[in-house]
């Protein structure tokens, strides 16, 4: 009986240490799927975020907005509006602007076609198109 107890204890100790030595499996990191559209605008100390969201379970599309001055807003979108905004974001062409050149004045767009960054006020095609997208989002607001 005593030997059985010793055996059980040993089994527990070795079993647990063997278990502990196993490295926890790393969660597989899949590229995040972007649905909808996020636009972040940084001008000086001010930061605003526009989230264009895909349809919820009720089939409604919305644009959510917040900024670091405490403003929050939600605006309804029609399916046409939503698709138009997404297409406009996906069509953004050109080399990403380097944020080193505009760390205090830039706009970042994240959509299913990746991330695009434009310097506010810059005259390159991407920056101008991104600026146009933000003006449209601001209009909806």
């Amino acid at each position: 009986m005593k030997s059985l107890r010793v055996f059980l204890i040993l089994a527990l100790v070795f079993g647990s240490s063997a278990f502990a030595s196993q490295k926890p499996a790393k969660p597989s990191r899949k590229p995040a799927q972007v649905r909808g559209l996020r636009v972040e605008v940084q001008i000086g100390d001010r930061r605003s975020v526009f989230d264009v969201k895909p349809a919820d379970i009720k089939g409604k599309y919305v644009m959510e907005f917040y900024n670091n001055a405490g403003k929050r807003a939600t605006r309804p979108l029609t399916p046409d509006d939503y698709n138009y905004l997404l297409k406009k974001a996906q069509k953004l062409q050109g080399e990403n602007n380097k944020r080193e050149f505009c760390p205090q004045k830039f706009i970042r767009v994240v959509s299913s076609s990746g991330e695009k960054t434009g310097c506010d006020g810059a005259q390159n095609v991407l920056a101008k198109d991104i600026n146009g997208l933000v003006r449209l989002l601001s209009y909806i607001l």
Binding site: G70, E100, P103, R135, Y139
Partner: protein, 506 residues
């Protein structure tokens, strides 16, 4: 017993006589109502709303005439046709095949344009408006170059009306010029070698001496009403948005705001721009070797701004756990170059400006600290010139950062700034010169904050674990560890080596 009671009463009386500005400046700053300080006034929210609404109403009244004139211009013909297609789509009067737009159609188009322009100009001023046309239609108009130029002109016109720029503009220019002149003396006061001082002064000398009063109105903010200012490192320009002057014309506020923006020229991140002043060693995770490292270290502590990096903040939100709470040893983690918090830059190129500015509050923290030093110098001189009273000076320093009371950051969002309360109480209120200007008794310093003294003992080249939480000016214990957030490899070959050690007390 009687002596004890008398001593207690005296103690209570002494406490009661300490002005609140000396123990909780933020509380005074955030009190509602207008507050004049002898140099100007910080206006209450309701006063600002009234002024902006008045300016908006005046502008709204002008819009129909301005739009009508604009649409009549020969250069607007193409835009007019686009607008007629959009606004007149349901009207027989606006048959787009008809090249001559009828008078009735013109008025439909003009009404639509007025609504469109008003929506762009006054986006923060009223409730959401009905959209006259579909989003694609709106885009075809507001994306047109002619429209953009027109809207920009209207914005500038409104800016002139709303911000009283003719009166306040020269004040801003004067304060800016004076602070720039003070900057070299401030650099001289720092514990730096002569070569570093020379480089810093050269950088300050190349700052554009003309302040930029215009700010774009993009992104849901309207800088005719919303205060904002920023330093643009590539051009070395300071932008000061007119909305700032809607809220205040106090020189305390203007000096603090401009001091902060000028502070960015030497902050932990922008100091490395232009290559002349300072280059971070490849193995420096951020600013371990910043020229005044003890200020940086102090600002990171809980007795000051309690600065957070994005990675540490993310961890505090529950990703990866981590000790929390005031005074708790914190792990300040900085990503050395690659992975989800960092850039795609190789690890050896540890310094990355974008990540420095966006992923660490230190740039703003150092700018707050420098800003307070510069503003204190300016105001000290100005207060003597204007013979400001003690109460003026207390009110003025309460006005200086009062706009931060409206600074609301969603708890789920990382912001590059520390909380407004800390920016006021830990920086302005703890500055020795400002305390003297407010006639704060020496023993009235709150225990939970400390001034970040540039002459405090330095642990240059690495902030280790500080055993004493109350150790002088340095702040809370802080473990600094460098994480390499790269799944494929975690080598320290090119990464920084952090020395851990105890801070030596003075």
């Amino acid at each position: 017993m009687g002596i004890l009671i008398i001593a207690m009463l005296l103690g209570i009386a002494a406490l009661a006589s300490v002005p609140l500005e000396c123990t909780d400046l933020a509380k005074v700053a955030c009190r509602p109502g207008d507050r004049s300080d002898g140099t100007g006034t910080r206006y209450s929210r309701s006063a600002v709303t009234q002024r902006s609404m008045k300016a908006e109403l005046a502008m709204r009244a002008k819009l129909p005439g301005l739009v009508s004139d604009f649409m009549k211009e020969p250069g607007s013909l193409f835009l007019r046709n686009i607008a007629a297609e959009q606004f007149g789509i349901d009207s027989e009067d606006c048959d787009s095949s008809d090249k001559t737009v009828s008078q009735k159609c013109q008025s439909i188009v003009n009404e639509g344009m007025v609504e469109l322009v008003a929506n762009s100009l006054f986006e923060n001023a009223g409730p959401a408006k009905s959209r006259p046309v579909g989003l694609m239609g709106v885009d075809s108009i507001i994306g047109h170059k002619k429209y953009t130029e027109f809207a920009k002109g209207l914005y500038l016109e409104w800016m002139k009306q709303s911000s009283d720029q003719e009166r306040t503009g020269p004040i801003v220019d004067r304060v800016f010029e004076d602070i720039l002149k003070d900057y070299p003396a401030f650099i001289d006061s720092l514990p730096l070698d002569e070569q570093m001082k020379k480089k810093m002064k050269a950088k300050i000398a190349s700052i554009d001496t003309e302040i930029k009063p215009s700010c774009s109105d993009i992104g849901g903010f309207n800088y005719n009403v919303d205060p904002n200012a920023f330093y643009f490192p590539t051009t070395q320009e300071v932008h000061f948005c007119p909305g700032t002057l809607m809220n205040t014309d106090s020189e305390f506020t203007i000096a603090t705001a401009l001091g902060h923006e000028l502070g960015h020229a030497l902050d932990g991140c922008f100091i490395a721009m232009d290559g002349g002043v300072y280059s971070y060693p490849a193995n420096d995770p951020l600013q371990l070797t910043y020229p005044i490292p003890n200020v940086v270290s102090c600002l990171r502590g809980a007795t000051s701004l309690d600065i957070q990096s994005r990675a540490a903040w993310t961890e505090a939100q529950g990703v990866g756990g981590g000790a929390q709470g005031p005074g708790a040893p914190r792990s300040y983690k900085y990503n050395s170059g690659s992975g989800k918090y960092g850039s795609k830059a190789p690890k050896s190129a540890a310094f990355d400006l974008t990540n420095c500015v966006q992923n660490d509050q230190i740039a703003e923290g150092v700018s707050d600290w420098i800003g307070a030093e510069l503003a204190a110098r300016y105001i000290k001189r100005r207060a003597e010139q204007l013979k400001l009273t003690e109460q003026n000076r207390r009110d003025g320093w309460a006005n200086a950062n009062a706009h931060l009371c409206d600074w609301k950051i969603p708890s789920t969002t990382y912001d590059t700034h520390s909380s407004g309360e800390k920016r006021i109480n830990a920086i302005l209120m703890m500055n020795p010169s400002i305390r003297t200007q407010m006639s704060c008794p020496p023993d009235s310093k709150p225990e939970n904050y400390a001034y970040c003294d540039p002459n405090a003992p330095v642990l240059r080249g690495g902030y280790g674990t500080f055993d004493s939480p109350s150790g002088g000016n340095i702040g809370v214990p802080m473990n600094l560890e460098v994480i390499i957030d790269d799944e494929s490899e975690a080598t320290t070959e090119s990464g920084p080596v952090i020395k851990r050690g105890k801070r030596e007390d003075k």
